[in-house]
């Protein structure tokens, strides 16, 4: 079709007229509301701010919406003093449904704005101005979860300071690392569930998967080890990531503090192994501090893919012991690795030689001391008796 130049001109003119007519009509609607609410200090009868920063709102995610799109109960002017609260779920149905089934379901305590901030200044979560921007999430959640009174009221730990000092919190707050885990990386956002709920990403059985969202390689190792297999088989006594690394106060595993504190964690379950470990030089070294290199559980057993000695891939499999011990003990040989890091000198059946050595040493100690303690006490009494007798005979005082 061929359009005459005059026709084209008419179309352009018509479109232009539409624009000219339409633009003032939007501006007019907002101006109507802002003529009152544009005053930032405006308050309603109960003292709540009802002022709107037009500039901020215009730049926000909802800036293209009309006031009445959200404030749907307002039809005319003047509007009633009492207006109904805005229903975010009208548009955000999925999020609202998620929130309704979550630990934050009580709407009066957890309105959308408690996390998303000022309703007239909402930005996309990828925008640094958003309250739910990854680097802002901990501060947003911390407003409640860093509050002692609130933590006490709900019987929750005050986790915010723990998180901030953790390896995740440090990466996030000090380095601005967007991929560092923030609260919602593990807990989710709208549909947050108690860790006791089997559907929660923080439910014990789900934790490997949750951490594995970022730590994929470690999780694969873990799932191949005895603990991962046990948890997968439903044995929830077995440790998951957070049992050793904690949930919020996660430290760099090579840090001295972590190395110092972690052996008893294994000992919570492996009581007999912990007790025999404490009899050894390895434990004596580690208890005294200042020497973090000494062998702790995972230095020999591995940390994530823990395998029984019967598995040829295990670092404690007989064929691998020279290499495993040799990591600290230069010159370790086949005879050296027969050393038993968990020998029990009190168990005659398991360690007969050690049992009799200890028995002999104890008898020697007890026998020698018993004899000489008696000998010395008798001697003391007799010497003193003689001394007093001698001095009395000499006519002096009794001393």
């Amino acid at each position: 079709m061929k359009i005459a130049p005059s026709m084209a001109l008419t179309i352009v003119a018509f479109a232009g007229a539409l624009l000219v007519l339409a633009a003032p009509s939007i501006a007019k609607a907002e101006t109507d509301c802002l003529s009152c609410h544009g005053d930032a200090s405006m308050q309603d009868a109960s003292g709540h701010s009802v002022g709107v920063d037009a500039g901020k709102f215009g730049a926000s995610l909802h800036g293209s919406l009309k006031c009445v799109d959200c404030h749907t109960t307002i039809k005319d002017y003047p509007h009633p003093d009492q207006v109904m609260a805005v229903k975010c779920e009208t548009c955000h149905a999925d999020q609202a449904a998620g929130l309704a089934g979550s630990v934050h379901s009580l709407k009066a305590e957890h309105p959308c704005t408690s996390c998303h901030g000022d309703a007239h200044a909402i930005f996309p979560k990828g925008d640094v101005r958003s309250a739910v921007y990854p680097l802002n999430v901990p501060r947003t959640c911390g407003a409640c979860h860093g509050n002692d009174a609130m933590a006490k009221k709900h019987g929750l730990p005050n986790v915010y300071p723990l998180y901030l000092d953790s390896i995740h919190g440090f990466a996030l707050s000090n380095e601005g690392l967007l991929v560092a885990a923030n609260c919602q990386s593990c807990h989710g956002s709208h549909h947050i569930l108690s860790r006791k709920d089997p559907l929660s990403p923080t439910y014990k059985a789900n934790i490997p998967k949750t951490c594995g969202n970022c730590h994929a390689g470690i999780t694969t190792s873990y799932l191949g080890g005895v603990h991962g297999k046990a948890v997968a088989a439903g044995h929830l006594d077995a440790p998951v990531c957070s049992d050793c690394h904690t949930a919020h106060a996660i430290e760099q595993p090579t840090a001295a503090a972590f190395r110092m504190q972690s052996t008893p964690i294994c000992g919570n379950c492996h009581k007999d192994k912990f007790s025999t470990y404490r009899d050894t030089f390895h434990s004596q070294l580690s208890s005294l501090g200042g020497y973090v290199e000494t062998a702790r559980c995972w230095d020999c057993h591995g940390a994530h893919e823990i395998l029984p000695a019967s598995d040829p891939r295990s670092p404690i499999a007989p064929a691998n012991l020279v290499a495993t011990c040799g990591r600290c003990h230069a010159g370790a040989n086949a005879s050296f690795v027969q050393y038993q890091p968990h020998a029990n000198a009190r168990n005659r059946k398991l360690n007969p030689a050690l049992y009799f050595v200890r028995l002999f040493m104890n008898l020697l100690l007890a026998g020698t001391l018993t004899f000489f303690v008696i000998h010395t006490i008798l001697w003391l009494i007799r010497s003193r008796y003689d001394q007093v007798k001698r001095k009395t005979a000499e006519g002096g005082k009794n001393a």
């Binding site: 208890s287 200042g290 010159g331 000489f372």
Partner: protein
């Protein structure tokens, strides 16, 4: 009558000061004892925190001196010094016996080696404790002194060997079975504990704190003792030397005041540290 008493005290002091002194220990023996008790205190102070690594004082002490690294460094340092002293002592004995052909080192009244008289003395002593017989007269070294000596000698070998076996475990593993590497820690710590308990209670009381020597026998520091003490404590040796006409050869100068004072400071410090370690050991052992 305080005047008389004071006068009596004074005259006693004078007679002691004016009396003769006899040499008991050579300079070398005194130095050996000094090295022995210094390194022993050091080894005990650094060994006990390892033995009782779970106790609070052990951790506090360890962190105070720089953690485990410092503890083990000083433990090894003292061990090496003590080992050298031990080797020098053994070499000295064999030199005296084999090169100088000195008599009475391995046998006889002046030897450290036990003999039948020691057995009789032990039973005689116990009978005397119980009021069943006369007090035995002792020679140069009494049976409990010989026990002290051989206990240390045996302890040096046992604790030393087990200690070096742990220090150089991969090397010792060439000729020790695997279980022995476990056993050496048990041996080292039990024998060490025995030595500590024995020295800080039995040796301290027998040698220093018993009424005849209270509060401290200075002879091992000054090397000399008064005629009165010599006669009372080692009657048989005194009588033998007198009979042999060798008594005069043993007469020595009275100890200098500075040496006495210095010895007292060192000696009491050592006894104080020892008793403190004994209390800590017992508290950790029974907790």
């Amino acid at each position: 009558m305080p005047d008389l008493e004071q006068a009596g005290g004074k005259s006693g002091e004078q007679s002691r000061a004016g009396g003769r002194f006899f040499m008991r220990f050579t300079r070398g023996q005194r130095y050996l004892h000094a090295v022995l008790f210094t390194t022993f205190l050091g080894l005990a102070a650094t060994g006990l925190p390892m033995r009782f690594s779970e106790s609070i004082w052990a951790r506090k002490f360890a962190s105070g001196v720089g953690g485990f690294g410092a503890i083990i460094f000083f433990h090894k340092l003292f061990a090496v010094v003590l080992t050298l002293a031990f080797l020098i002592h053994v070499k000295d004995i064999f030199t005296r016996a084999l090169v100088h052909r000195e008599k009475g080192i391995f046998w006889g009244s002046t030897s450290m080696v036990g003999n039948w008289k020691d057995v009789k003395d032990l039973f005689g002593h116990i009978r005397w404790f119980l009021g069943l017989g006369p007090k035995p007269q002792f020679e140069r070294y009494a049976y409990w002194e010989k026990f002290d000596y051989w206990a240390v000698f045996w302890g040096m070998i046992v604790i030393g060997f087990s200690g070096y076996a742990m220090w150089f475990a991969p090397f010792f593993a060439h000729f020790l079975p695997g279980w022995a590497l476990n056993a050496v820690l048990v041996i080292h710590s039990e024998e060490g504990l025995l030595a500590i308990l024995f020295i800080f209670s039995i040796h301290f009381v027998n040698t220093h704190l018993r009424p005849d020597s209270f509060p401290m026998d200075m002879v091992v520091f000054t090397g000399v003792e008064s005629e009165e003490e010599f006669k009372h404590k080692r009657t048989q040796e005194y009588e033998r030397l007198k009979a042999q006409g060798k008594l005069e050869a043993r007469v020595a100068e009275a100890p200098a005041t500075w040496l006495l004072n210095f010895s007292k400071v060192v000696g009491f410090t050592a006894i104080f540290i020892g008793l403190l370690l004994l209390v800590l050991t017992l508290s950790a052992y029974f907790s």
